[in-house]
Every structure is written in structure tokens, then in C-alpha cells.
Amino acid sequence: MSAIISIRDMLVTYDDFAALDHVSMDVEEGESFGIVGESGSGKSTLLRAVSGLEGFNSGTLTVAGKTYSGQSRTKEFYRTVQMVFQDPYGSLHPRQTVDRLLLEPLAIHGFTDVDVRIARALDEVGLGAGFRFRYSHQLSGGQRQRIAIARALILEPKILLLDEPTSALDASIQAEILNLLEQAKRDRGLTFVMVSHDLGVISHMCGRLAVMKSGKVVETVPAQALENREFSADYTRQLLVASEGFSRG
């Protein structure tokens, strides 16, 4: 196994505030890596800095053997890495049809057999051809998130960055989307980096996870450690207690 994403000493600052404070992390090829933490812990910033939506001030980032810095990413990078965002209501263009939304990445990367690919992408996320010429406001939250996943998968990337992909969805829809993601991962041998505040979701999806707080990685543990309570940081325990729900006493 080799690391497909390798992050060393990554630093992201906004004025004097360090959103990411010298974070290092390795994600192996083919694994699902989870990142948990409360809001403001830097977990989303980490994904945004990897994907180039945010620049990083110092440190190194190596993805699939290529090294990147700052905010510049090559076209090839985006063939390898795609991202799915939290809010399916905010991440699809409101005035573009599904067809147009899925065409854009194909056009940018110079694909020619677009018709076939769009039809196949919709099919893969469980939406029929009937959805192809709809606008996003004509879709439910779960359907929108399926479109967002189709848009990410249509370029056949190796790595998917998932930023709270199900936290805006109902529990029953969440189960459907998680199953869809797992299916896509199996079929295509994808690598997942998944951010969530829900330890249940992370332990279901991921093999390893990093716990973040105040821009730092508190600890990295295998997912089984949550079940067996084999972790050392007190903060991890706090998150675990919080995820178990309310109890009187």
C-alpha cells in the first residue's frame, strides 16, 4: 500500500488565525479515510486546501505522485480528485439543467462521447433519463446529492473528497446516499476522504479516521478503536459520548 494523498505540515492562516496548524496526514490508495471534529476544527478547510479551493501557506501536498503548493492545481489533478459538498441546495447551478451541469466537467476535460457518459452517469446514481433535462429546483435534496455525486464521478476520478455529504439529508435518504457511495467505491476502486461530525457515519464508511480540534489532528485511529474504546485522546471520548445521544443523570 502506498499513500495516494500525503500531507506534510500543512498550514492555512487567515490573518493571525491558523485554521490548519501544521497538519500531516497520509491516505492510502483504496481506503476510506474519515475526518471528524466540531465546527471550526479545520476539517472542511483541510479538504478545501487539498482541492485547491483554498491556498495553503506552507507545507507540502502530494497527490498520486505529484506535488502541489499554494492554490494552483493542474487539470490533471481534477481528473484525479473530485469533491462532493455538504449542501445539495447550494452546490448545483440553479439555472442549469442536469444535462448542462454534467456536461461542464466533460467539456472542460475534452471528452467527446458526452451523450453516452451523461446517460451512464445518471444511471449509475440511480436516476433515470427522465431527470436529464430538469433543473435542480425540480429535484429533492437526495436527488440533488445524487446529481452532485454523478458530476464528481463522471470524470472517473481516483479520489473523492466528501464534505459532510449527508448531513443536510433525512436519515432514510442518508442511508441511500451512503449505500450509493459504497457501491461506487467498490465498482471503481475509489479512495474516499470523508469529513463528518457524525461518528456513526464515519465508522460505517471508513477504515481509519483522524480526530481534529482547533486546526490540529488530535489523533488518528482505526475505526474499530471507536467500538472497542481504544483511543487515547479525551476529546475523542467527548465526541463519542455526544454521538450516543442524551441521557439523564
Binding site: 435534496g141 433525512d170 439523564r248
Partner: protein, 291 residues
């Protein structure tokens, strides 16, 4: 607790329940016809904690809003009975309803970022609530607000009194909202997803505070949420809603005895630590559930 037979109190004499709802319907006219968000909800509530659970669009929030009297103006509300302490809420004059709203029935909303007034200090907006319903002097009001902020475990309440909502965190904002709703000592509190916008680590603190205050002050509570497990750990009794109707009513202790396929599906589809189910079971929505 007055579960099961809410019209009989401890001494055996009968009195009106805190809230009686019978066949509540909320209908919105739209360009393409009428949409009925709540379709015949009935329950009675004593001094107990009632949870209303459902997914988006199930009508759970609209039920809460109809009781509070906050439904959008163009909507049509009908009910055989919507009574608070034996008084009909639908037929009473608006001014009387205003006296009840905030004083006897209060409501905590989901997100403090959007439901606190951004251009008014926290202290001033709580004082505003208090002065609307009670005749108190300025100094007394401030004293009571600070005591209330202390009761929701805000450290240094004197400082927070002069802050604006954007200057406090989400968890603290939600405590401020709880303080504002409890300052007049309501008899019925409706909490609509009070912790869904908060961080997991903060949620428990806020629930803890809410739990203590509700039991200390002996209020009736309606807790509206999408989270079945959370609600059942917090409430005495749970109504499960689907497509505007109550599909199942359960005592929280009997959650494991749930029988409606929708309730079972909701319980099953959550990924949990330690359960290894790939793929997760998904809800198979039957059209007859929404009949």
C-alpha cells in the same frame, strides 16, 4: 405524570388538559391546488414531554407552529378542537392569542443565528419579552434577565447581557433563546429542533439545561425533531409523523416495540458504531402509509 389519561390529575378530580388537539389540519393554497401539510393530527398533552418525530415534509413543524399561532397568514387551519387549558385557540380574538403566545406558550426555534434579532443586544430583547407580558421596572427586569441567563448556565451573564447575538457562539445563542422563552414562566414549551443547528459536543449541554429547567418548572414540552433516538431518550411519549399524519404513538420506553414499518425503517437506517451492516437497510416507502 398524566400519561394515558390526561384529563384526570393526581387527586382524581378532572380538569382540562394543558393542550387538547383534535383533527388538526393545516392547508396551504398553491398555484397548483391545495397542499395539506398536516392532515388530522390529534393528541392531548398534560405536564409531560411529548416528542414529535418525522422527516422533512412530514408536518411536524407545522403542527408546532399551528399550536403557537405562527402559521403563515394565507394558510387555512381547521380543527375539531385546539384548546389550551380548555380555551379554544382558533376562535379567540387575536389580542388574547397574543397574551398567551410568549407568556403561556413559548417556542424555541432551530437556529439562533436567524431567530434572534441581530440589531438588538441580548439583554434588551429578553427584557422586551418580559415587559410585553409583565409590569416590571427596568431595574427589576434586568435583574430577572440576568438571573435567567445564569439559569441557562451562561457564565458572566452581566457581560452577555450587553452583547449582540453575532458575538456569541451557536450553543450560547441557543441558551439565550431558551432564557428568552422561559423568562415569563410558560406552561407549555414547544421546541422545534432546538439542537439540530448546534455542534454535537454542544448539543448535549443544551439538552441538559432544557431538561433541568422543564422538570424544575413543571412545564409541558413538545419536542419536535427528526431524530427518533434523541427524542425517545428525552421525552416520555413519541408521536411519529409521516405525510401529515401520526402513524404511530409510542411510550419512549417501548421504542423497541415499535410496529409501524416506517418507525422501524427510521430506527434501522441509521449507521451506528459497532454495527457492521453493508449496505444499510433503506426505507421502502409504501404508498398506503400516506393514505
Amino acid at each position: 405524570m398524566m400519561m394515558g389519561n390526561p384529563s384526570v390529575n393526581m387527586t382524581g378530580t378532572t380538569e382540562a388538559p394543558l393542550l387538547a388537539v383534535d383533527d388538526l389540519r393545516v392547508t396551504f393554497p398553491t398555484r397548483t391546488g391545495e397542499v395539506t401539510a398536516v392532515r388530522g393530527v390529534s393528541f392531548t398533552l398534560g405536564k409531560e414531554r411529548l416528542g414529535i418525530v418525522g422527516e422533512s415534509g412530514s408536518g411536524k413543524s407545522q403542527t408546532g407552529r399551528a399550536i403557537m399561532g405562527l402559521t403563515a397568514g394565507h394558510a387555512k387551519i381547521t380543527a375539531n378542537k385546539l384548546e389550551f387549558r380548555g380555551r379554544d385557540l382558533l376562535s379567540m380574538p387575536k389580542s388574547e392569542r397574543r397574551h398567551i403566545r410568549g407568556k403561556q406558550i413559548a417556542m424555541i426555534l432551530q437556529d439562533p443565528k436567524y431567530s434572534l434579532n441581530p440589531v438588538m443586544t441580548i439583554g434588551r430583547q429578553i427584557v422586551e419579552t418580559l415587559k410585553t407580558h409583565e409590569k416590571v421596572s427596568g431595574a427589576q427586569a434586568k435583574e430577572r434577565v440576568i438571573a435567567m441567563l445564569e439559569a441557562v448556565q451562561i457564565r458572566d451573564p452581566g457581560r452577555v447581557y450587553d452583547l449582540y447575538p453575532h458575538e456569541v457562539s451557536g450553543g450560547m445563542g441557543q441558551r439565550v433563546m431558551i432564557a428568552m422563552m422561559l423568562i415569563c414562566g410558560p406552561e407549555l414549551l414547544i421546541a422545534d429542533e432546538p439542537t439540530s443547528a448546534l455542534d454535537v459536543t454542544v448539543q448535549l449541554d443544551v439538552l441538559d439545561i432544557l431538561d433541568k429547567l422543564v422538570s424544575e418548572r413543571g412545564m409541558g414540552l413538545i419536542f419536535v425533531s427528526h431524530d427518533l433516538r434523541l427524542v425517545s431518550s428525552f421525552c416520555d411519549r413519541v408521536l411519529v409523523m409521516y405525510a401529515g399524519r401520526v402513524v404511530e404513538e409510542l411510550a419512549s420506553a417501548d421504542l423497541s416495540k415499535a410496529s409501524h414499518p416506517y418507525t422501524l425503517g427510521l430506527l434501522n437506517c441509521l449507521p451506528t458504531i459497532g454495527s457492521n451492516r453493508h449496505p444499510l437497510p433503506v426505507l421502502d416507502r409504501k404508498p398506503e402509509w400516506s393514505l
